[in-house]
Symmetry: C2
Subunit: 339 residues, 2 copies
């Protein structure tokens, strides 16, 4: 890679000092129009771009924030990120994305990597991580916003929704539809507070409505894992009449399992999801699921982060609402006689 022109090259060619060039770039009002134009012409001619490192060194910030998401292969994180990125870009801030593959160790590594790159702030997904990670973050005093979950009493600023409540509402709806033998295909709960909260929400709601506790099977984040888990649940006796899924991807796996077993949805088995990704509407029948405001979440996170980066004051967490989208995969429970 060719060595790039520097401020000094521009200055020399324009016959001014480096200070003036710098001012043309950063505070143009302080420079006489004539000089400004001359400098700008040289900048264009040389194709000059400021050196990031030099700049970061001098102004002691990078205008960069980092986000660590579990995986990019999940449309829902991607979409939230996209909103975050767009909003940040409008403020001249660049977003650095890293993935942890749902692994706390990897997440910790990525946090260090991003911090080493001098990010001015950090977006992390969920709340569940080791105490030492939080200590580390606190010590660096870097602005952090937790996305995707919101729980009363969390010390860190978060932008998200109440996974427990949303899952409970869905479970309540399932029971209200007449189901009593309810099972759940959950995401992996270890190190994942969202998945865990959803399981707990379902458990709590079923108990509150006098339904027997659900059989819960955990599955990794993939259609295939959902299919396997659902096959287990559907072939046991007695089989559940409804399966609540921890997310839409798992629900898609349940659809495939049902298809393989010759079961019709929702006649033979009801299915619900969580997230409301595009996939939900493509499924046949369309999936009844919990709609999550990913876009608004990404946008709100951007605002919070920028505020946090400007003034290190405490910023209030933001709770967003979820909403059940009824689409047809949840039918009435089995009639008494059929039981």
């Amino acid at each position: 890679m060719k060595s790039q022109p520097t401020l000094e090259d521009v200055a020399r060619l324009a016959g001014v000092s480096t200070a003036t060039v710098s001012r043309v770039l950063n505070t143009p009002d302080l420079v006489r129009a004539e000089t400004r134009d001359r400098v700008r012409a040289v900048v264009d001619q040389l194709g000059y771009t400021p050196h990031f490192g030099g700049r970061a060194l001098a102004i002691r910030r990078t205008n960069t924030v980092g986000a660590i998401i579990p995986t990019m292969e999940n449309a829902i994180f991607a979409r939230g990120l996209q909103a975050l990125q767009t909003r940040l870009a409008a403020r001249g801030v660049t977003l650095l994305v890293a993935t942890s593959d749902f692994d706390p160790i990897q997440e910790e590594e990525q946090i260090r990597a991003l911090l080493a790159r001098g990010v001015d702030g950090l977006v992390l997904i969920g709340e569940a991580r080791g105490a030492d990670t939080y200590t580390f973050l606190a010590r660096r005093e870097v602005p952090v916003v937790l996305l995707w979950s919101h729980r009363e009493g969390c010390l860190w600023t978060s932008v998200g929704f109440d996974n427990h409540r949303a899952a409970a509402e869905m479970a309540a709806l399932v029971v209200a539809s007449g189901h009593r033998r309810v099972a759940m295909v959950a995401g992996v709960t270890a190190g994942n507070d969202r998945a865990a909260a959803r399981v707990e929400g379902v458990r709590a709601a079923l108990a509150a409505h006098g339904a027997p506790p659900p059989r819960v099977v955990e599955a990794a984040y993939s259609i295939e894992a959902g299919r396997t888990a659902a096959t287990t649940l559907l072939t046991q006796d007695p089989a559940p009449s409804a399966i609540i899924c921890g997310n839409d991807v798992l629900a898609a796996g349940v659809y495939i399992a049902a298809r393989d077993l010759g079961l019709r949805i929702p006649d033979d088995i009801s299915v619900t999801g969580f997230d409301d990704i595009d996939l939900a509407t493509v499924l046949d029948p369309p999936l009844t699921t919990v709609h999550v405001p990913h876009r608004r979440m990404g946008q709100a996170a951007a605002e919070v982060l920028l505020r946090l980066a400007d003034a290190p004051a405490h910023v209030e967490s933001i709770a967003l609402e979820t909403e059940i989208r009824e689409r047809g995969s949840l039918g009435p429970g089995p009639s008494e006689t059929a039981q």
Copy 2:
């Protein structure tokens, strides 16, 4: 954000010079074991991390490469990126991701933004972009690899596959299955060589096999757009007996349109896709589509980029193979009598 400890802080506390600390971090062999341990202890104690800007300034590289993809909301790019990132990370290189939203202007902006951040290399999707963009890249002499398309005679190093040929093969299969009234729901071809090549491939193959030219409708990258386009095609007279789609997402839209119109796949209408994302197997019936080796593509891109970054020699483009996955959405063409 608290001001971080510097090399000098570490040096002072360890009672050595900054040079020694730097050596402990970068070339530990040059330092006596005893000193090394002492310095490392202080590094840990202080939680010291090297300042990225300072480092970039001194060594004149960032160990960072940038990638600009059209959108993160498409699982297929995400997956390729993930592979790219993993491979790069193994070599200590960080990946910066930006999105262009299929817009050449935005892509150009992102290129500048990434270069301004001092990326050592660039991954771009596809080949279609303005001549001045290429001139700019050439002038900066930054290593670039083009992903997702591969065409003989392209001057830039690319890692991809022949979109034209793959689409032609699919079209040939459709004709061989007995279809003659073939339509296509294509991606937007303006500024997108992959989408354009796929359309051309289909056209060429149909012509070569004596089938009438296809009716082609372009649609943005979304299920909804695919649905709209398909509705147009399916309600015209005579309706096509098969719809070839420019990608799987559009195919999903076609499924919904067909469902809405009461048409069964593949009995009433055959559908094919392109990309082979997870979605393809979830659809009912599972989608016959062109499988694209996204993972291998991402990995190969990483290798090429690293080689290019080390030695500015020319590196050969890599052509990967695609493969048709027959799954059930492509049925036999209508019988003579039905026509």
